[in-house]
Structure formats: C-alpha cells, structure tokens
Amino acid sequence: MEGFLPLQWAVFWWIIALPCLVFGILQLKRVLAADREALPLLGVTGGFIFILSSLKLPSVTGSCSHPTGTGLSSVCFGPWITSVICAIVLLFQSLFLAHGGLSVLGANIVSMGIVGPLAGWGIYRALRDTGVNIYFTVFLACALADFCTYIVTSLELALAYPAEVGGFGSSFVMFMGIFAITQIPLAIVEGIVLALVFKYIVQLKPEILVRLKVFPEEKIRAAAGDS
C-alpha cells in the first residue's frame, strides 16, 4: 500500500527495521560459516516464504489475503534471519508487483519479518523443551507468526490514522476487522501445511535439525523413528 503511510511513520518503521536487518545478516553469515549444510534448510524455509506469500487466498470475510510462511524459518533459524528473507520477498513485491512499496517496506518488514516471526519464535521457545508434540509446536508457531503479522499491520495503520471519534482504539478495531479476521482461517491452514513440511524435513534430514538445536535430539530422533 505505497503512499498510504504518512512520511514520518514510514521513516519511523524503517528506523526500527534496519538494525534488525543488519543483525539478521550478521547472524546469517555466522550460521552459514559454522555449517554449510544449513544452506539447503535455509533454501527450503525461504522457498516456502516465497511460495506462500504469493498465494492470495479467499477467506470467509469475502476478501482475499495471503499467508506469510515465516513460521518455519523462524523455528529453524530464529526471527532475525527470517527478517532478511522477508525483506528480499517484500522488495521483489514492491518493485515488480506494486504490492507494498519502497516507503512502506520498513513497516512491512516490521510486521511480516520481525514481529510475526518473533511471536512464532516465542511460542516455539516456550514449548520446545516441554512434552508437547513437535509438529503441534510448529503448527502453533506458524499460525501465530502469520496471524500476528496482520495484527501488527492493523496496529501500524491505526497508529497512523486514529479515528476522529474513538481515536486509536476504534481505528485498530476497524483495521483488525479487515486484516486479522480474514487471516484466521488462512493462519490455521498455513500452520498445518508447514507442520507437514516440517515432518518431511525431520524424515529426510534429522541431522541438520539436531545440529542447529531446533529441538532436543531425543525428540527429533523419536519423531524420525516412528515415521
């Protein structure tokens, strides 16, 4: 939505996004230098961000929106590296698809690349060392990363455009109605699909998940063993 954020807000979100991106790039270099075998996993998780964020799906509210696909990458590599992949996808969409735009790119990176993945990563970290099934954990992380992205989008717009009556709160409720409600069914389906993808990663390449300490080794071994 190029042009729909006033200049000061566009700059504000850019200022938040930039240090996170720099940190993400440094972290990415470190992870890849430590283990070249992490690169294919990055390809898979990044590939799903490319695929899912291009699919505009209809939802129950009679409008369309797209999933984000960021949860899987966030579980495997953490939210900062995910921000870098998201920035690439969002840049492509701004330059060639008029979907987003260069001035609002900062705000979009914050919602899709930083806060969404951070929320997914938070729930994943909370459940990682508990007895909760790993696929259920991945499902929750992915669904939450998707859903929170659109909560933050609503927040960004409500901050920039508080309603005359009711101020920020009533704007936020209105934008939540547009973005977040549409997103609920999409977030659930995305979570299930990415949990399934994670199952295939566990079956094909459990070693890399063990090495990156995505889940405790015995949980991954158990999951890879019974499938």
Partner: protein, 101 residues
C-alpha cells in the same frame, strides 16, 4: 498404518474444510468481491481521513504491472522460484539419504 500418515490426513481434511467453508460462504454472500485485504485497508484509510483513495500518491515512484494478467504472472513466477528451491533441496537430501543407506 494410518497413524503414519496422521499429519497428512489432518492437512487434507483442513484444506478440504477450507475449500468447503469458502464455497458455503461465497454462496451466501452474493455481493462479496474477494478483493485483496490491502484494497479494503486502503478504502478504510480513505474513510477515516475523509480523503479520496486517489489522493494517496506513492511517496516513492513505483512501477505498476500494466495489467492484472501481468501481475498474476509475476506472482506465479515468485511462487515458482520458491517451489524450485524447495524441490531441489528435498531432492538433494533424498539423494544423500539413499546414498548413505
């Protein structure tokens, strides 16, 4: 043997339900346009500010796909690039696994 494919079954059921809910609601809502939520968001901003949507000009000059066909083509290209990555890596891992066993 069913328990091996539990997650696959859940995924298929979820997708079928998603399609089913879509068919059901779209048959109830005749006026639904299935516009993008971005478009609705823009309309929301216009409504809040009382300024027409056309008045919001890009802050940074922006190239727009000349038509919906071209736009959907570019979206498909993006998905295809992602698909190539995913397929390539899964194939690479599968090959590694077959060789080691």
């Amino acid at each position: 043997m069913w328990s091996r494919y539990r997650l696959e079954i859940v995924a298929i059921v979820a997708i079928v339900c998603f399609c089913g809910v879509f068919l059901y609601t779209s048959s109830l809502m005749n006026d639904a346009e299935y516009a993008g939520s971005d478009t609705l968001g823009s309309a929301g901003v216009a409504e809040l500010t009382g300024v027409s949507e056309e008045a919001f000009q890009p802050l940074v000059p922006q190239w727009e796909p000349p038509s919906g066909e071209i736009e959907s083509g570019l979206f498909a290209l993006q998905a295809a690039v992602g698909g190539i990555f995913v397929g390539w890596v899964f194939g690479y891992w599968k090959g590694q696994k077959n060789r080691s066993t």
